[in-house]
């Protein structure tokens, strides 16, 4: 038989050796994981290591590959949430924020348009009536001048707001292009905030991904339950600074149009009536940190960005002596009276906090508010014990399956079965090595995929061996039979594997969660088994043939 060229042999050997080396860390999972964690922690601290970290880092030599398969939620335990971001919330906030500007514009035209009033309208729509219908065109032009062009790929040439006249009123709402652009920003901001909040508690490898136009997938391994994760993310941690209209102890008090009745956080039974449109909102904060006020009580210091600082400065300048409310999640944290003009955008929130509460509040403020509320479409919690049980069960099944297939192959093909088994083992190792290197996540169906690969990987070997048997029966000498067996089985192997890869790709593209994990291991398993069955087995058989030079062989 024609020998494989040397460079090809070396390449095959190199890939096999790499597979073995790169799969080994998974054997010492806990050890390598601690090493990797320590390494990451040291890198994060700019190379400064605690003794514990140094000890953990020493658990695994640096020059050995240390990439691991990460374990999916179903194996490690943790929580999975699929949230839908209520992007319409942002439309409403944007439109509400527009009202003061519209009012000011039209006030300048009072002699033409008369009195201006905001009329009741659905959320996200601003309806403004003027008392002089003759002034409508002028009012329309004035409001239209507030529009700015949308900067986006699809919305070229469109303005951010649609302004129209309906009866005696001007109706303003966000344009479709602006809505699309806003959705994108809202999602981006939500993702960022969720990521920061999840990172604050230091959990390992959280998955936070955008899905579709308005959904966020959050997977956090090692967290106790989905409820805990939700508490961490907070459905609406929204901080605003609002002007106070009044204070009451009547829970049913009429707040009046465009006002809100909000309970006080630390004074039971006290309610504040505040203006719905905030003076400044939490997303204009640049920093917040726990501090102490002049009486040494825990407090939170904050700093606005320049726009927020200007607004806050203007407001405090013109409202000296009036109270304003600091509102967090629809509760008034405190309602201090403005003592003086506060320029520069620095301030301090005092209230009856404990040190821990003030720290949490600072974290919450620093992480920023979620721009919109989220509803949870899917919640899954998997306990760590169940995950461990699944790992154990998967291990047992994999070992039993492997041993059974190995024995069966030897029973059917004798020495050639042994050679196929070596290839099978190399196949599993390379599969694990590839999964580790690309950072794929191993799930329970993924383990099933690996076990299934063991069964199906030998298929290519079976095709080749059966073909060799046929050629031997036809009276060909051993080396010729082997060569023909490999050559002729190739077309069947290719066709059957391409279709299998095709289904794996489709599963990956369309499927979600467990289906994907399965598709990844199955797909990679098919590719690695093609390599080992065709190249590695051939390499082993060739080497053996060259060494023993058998007169006859039995497959």
């Amino acid at each position: 038989m024609t020998a494989t060229p040397l460079w090809k042999r070396l390449l095959i050997l190199a890939i096999c050796l790499w597979g073995i080396a790169a799969s080994v860390p998974n054997l010492f999972y806990a050890r390598v994981e601690r090493h990797n964690d320590a390494e990451a922690a040291i890198a994060a601290a700019d190379g400064v290591a605690t003794p514990d970290q140094t000890a953990a880092k020493a658990l695994w030599p640096d020059w050995v590959p240390s990439a691991l398969m990460s374990l999916g939620l179903d194996l490690r335990g943790g929580a999975h949430l699929l949230a839908e971001v209520q992007v319409e919330d942002v439309y409403k906030a944007r439109i509400d924020a527009l009202w003061p500007e519209v009012r000011d514009k039209l006030r300048d035209l009072r002699d033409q348009v008369g009195n201006v009033r905001r009329q009741p309208s659905p959320d996200g729509v601003l309806r403004v009536s003027v008392s002089e219908p003759a002034g409508l065109p002028a009012a329309l032009a004035a409001v239209q001048s507030l529009a700015t062009p949308v900067v986006s790929l699809t919305g070229v040439g469109q303005n951010d707001i649609d302004v129209a006249v309906q009866g005696d009123a001007i109706v303003v709402q966000l344009s479709d292009a602006e809505k699309t652009a806003t959705d994108g920003r809202t999602l981006q901001q939500s993702l960022e905030i969720i990521r920061r909040r999840v990172d604050e508690v230091g959990t390992r490898e959280p998955t936070i991904q955008r899905q579709g136009t308005n959904r966020v997938l959050i997977q956090v391994p090692g967290i106790g339950s989905a409820a805990e994760l939700k508490a961490l993310i907070g459905t609406t941690a929204k901080l605003t600074f609002n002007a106070v209209v009044g204070r009451t102890t009547d829970a049913g008090a009429e707040a009046g149009a465009r006002n809100l009745l909000l309970p006080s956080m630390d004074e039971p039974g006290v309610y504040y009536i505040v203006e719905e449109t905030p003076v400044v909102s939490g997303d204009e904060l640049t920093n917040a940190q726990p501090a102490f006020d002049q009486n040494n009580r825990p407090a939170v210091e904050f700093q606005f960005d320049s726009a927020g600082a200007r607004k806050f400065g203007d407001y405090t300048a013109e409202s000296i002596g009036k109270p304003f409310a600091i509102v967090l999640d629809d509760e008034v944290i405190s309602a201090p009276t403005i003592q003086s003009h506060i320029p520069g955008g620095r301030g301090i929130i005092t209230g009856s906090f404990t040190v821990e509460e003030s720290t949490n509040l600072a974290v919450l403020l620093r992480a920023g508010a979620l721009p919109a509320e989220m509803t949870f479409l899917e919640e899954r919690t998997i306990g760590p014990e169940l995950g461990q049980d699944s790992i154990d069960a998967g291990k047992t099944a994999a070992i039993v399956g492997m041993v059974a297939v190995v024995l069966y192959m030897i029973a059917c093909y004798g020495w050639f079965g042994v050679m196929a088994n070596i290839a099978l083992t190399v196949n599993i190792l390379i599969l694990i090595a590839v999964l580790s290197t690309i950072g794929a996540t191993l799930t329970l169906p993924g383990i099933a995929g690996i076990v299934l690969t063991m069964g199906m990987a030998v298929d290519a070997n079976v095709l080749i061996y059966e073909r060799i048997r046929e050629e031997l029966r036809d009276g060909r000498p051993p080396d010729r039979a082997i060569e023909l067996g490999f050559e002729r089985a190739l077309s069947a192997i290719t066709d059957s594997n391409v279709t299998a890869i095709l289904t794996a790709v489709i599963m990956f593209a369309i499927g979600s969660g467990p289906v994907r994990g399965f598709a990844v291991t199955l797909g990679i398993g098919i590719v690695t088994s093609l390599f080992t069955a065709v190249y590695v087995t051939r390499f082993i058989i060739e080497t053996w043939m060259a060494w023993r030079r058998p007169k006859s062989i039995q497959v």
Partner: protein
């Protein structure tokens, strides 16, 4: 001569078409019955596809379904099903049950309050109880998941159709896809008949069955194509039998190695993926059957154009021709 395990004798001469009326009839009947079963009995959809909540409970005390049911009786949850789970891998004091609660009326999303109430009620009757997994899917997502699952299967079949068509004759593509549909429909039928839980992982299993079954079928077709070029005058039926007999040893061999590893998973893989493994196990058996008795029959029925312009010129069979020359 060293000993070898042989499931299939070296030379077989089985006429796969002798009972073709019976075998094909059985296949058609199975497909029809499966469709009927799905139409009449429906599928026991998991929360992935129907919305709702499943709670897995684990306790050191034995599970008493009646007590659980009573504890949750006052919560007004609608349809609740409680099943005890058994697995050889469980410890003696490990008692597991699955509680399934339907999607709550009017709820778009998952319902955490309901979960909290159920957990509290169960803790009251069994303080040792823990909840190793809780999965809650809102109706909005579940209907989308059904569609994406269907889409995956249709796209999978279409992809295979196109590939087989491109590599072989269109008759082969029809035969292959008919066999695939047969396998998938009958597997779904079995899930419907025995009301086994049908969730996302089962869809993955169905897709794997597609992949396996097509693998099996294509190997025989590949050999058939080779034989078509080799024996130009042999009647198609005879040639198909020859091909199937030549590849029978491989067909059985691959089926058995796959079944061996799947059986290991079925027994030792734990109860969480048992349904998934069962679907694949069943699919491998039926996929092997359909390779031998469905796909070829359809190609034979459709007939093949055997004038010499056949696919010999296309890439895939070139090698066959070359070797045919060497052999001669």
């Amino acid at each position: 001569m060293a000993w070898r395990l042989r499931l299939v004798p070296e030379k077989t001469n089985i006429d796969f078409f002798r009972l073709q009326v019976v075998t094909f009839g059985i296949s058609v009947l199975a497909v029809v019955l499966s469709l009927l079963s799905v139409a009449v009995l429906g599928l026991n959809f998991g929360v992935d596809f129907q919305g709702g909540t499943t709670i897995r409970t684990e306790s050191t005390q034995s599970v008493d379904v009646g007590v659980y049911r009573e504890a949750m009786g006052t919560l007004d949850l609608g349809d609740v099903s409680i099943t005890q789970v058994f697995d050889p891998a469980f410890r003696d004091d490990q008692h597991v049950a699955m509680i399934r609660i339907e999607a709550q009326e009017g709820a778009e999303a998952a319902t955490p309050e309901v979960i909290a109430r159920v957990e509290a009620a169960l803790k009251a009757v069994d303080p040792a109880i823990t909840f190793p997994s809780v999965e809650s899917v809102g109706p909005k997502v579940s209907s989308e998941l059904i569609w994406s699952a269907l889409l995956a299967i249709v796209a999978g079949s279409a992809g295979i159709w196109i590939y087989v068509w491109a590599r072989f004759e269109w008759q082969f593509a029809v035969g292959t896809v008919a066999a695939l549909i047969h396998d998938v429909v009958v597997t779904v039928g079995v899930f419907s008949l025995f009301q086994l839980k049908f969730d996302l992982t089962i869809v993955a299993a169905l897709l794997t069955i597609l992949g396996y079954s097509v693998n099996d079928t294509v190997v025989i077709f590949d050999r058939l194509r080779e034989n078509l070029a080799k024996y130009k005058t042999m009647p198609l039926r005879e040639m198909m039998n020859l091909t199937a007999n030549e590849t029978l040893s491989r067909t059985i061999m691959t089926a058995s190695t796959t079944l061996i590893s799947l059986t290991a998973l079925l027994i030792f893989g734990g109860d969480v993926i048992r349904g998934f493994v069962f679907a694949m196990l069943f699919g491998v058996v039926i996929g092997t059957y359909s390779t031998l008795y469905v796909a070829k029959n359809i190609v034979l029925f459709l007939g093949l154009d055997r004038s010499d312009k056949t696919k010999g010129d296309k890439g895939g069979t070139k090698s066959t021709h070359e070797f045919a020359n060497i052999d001669a």
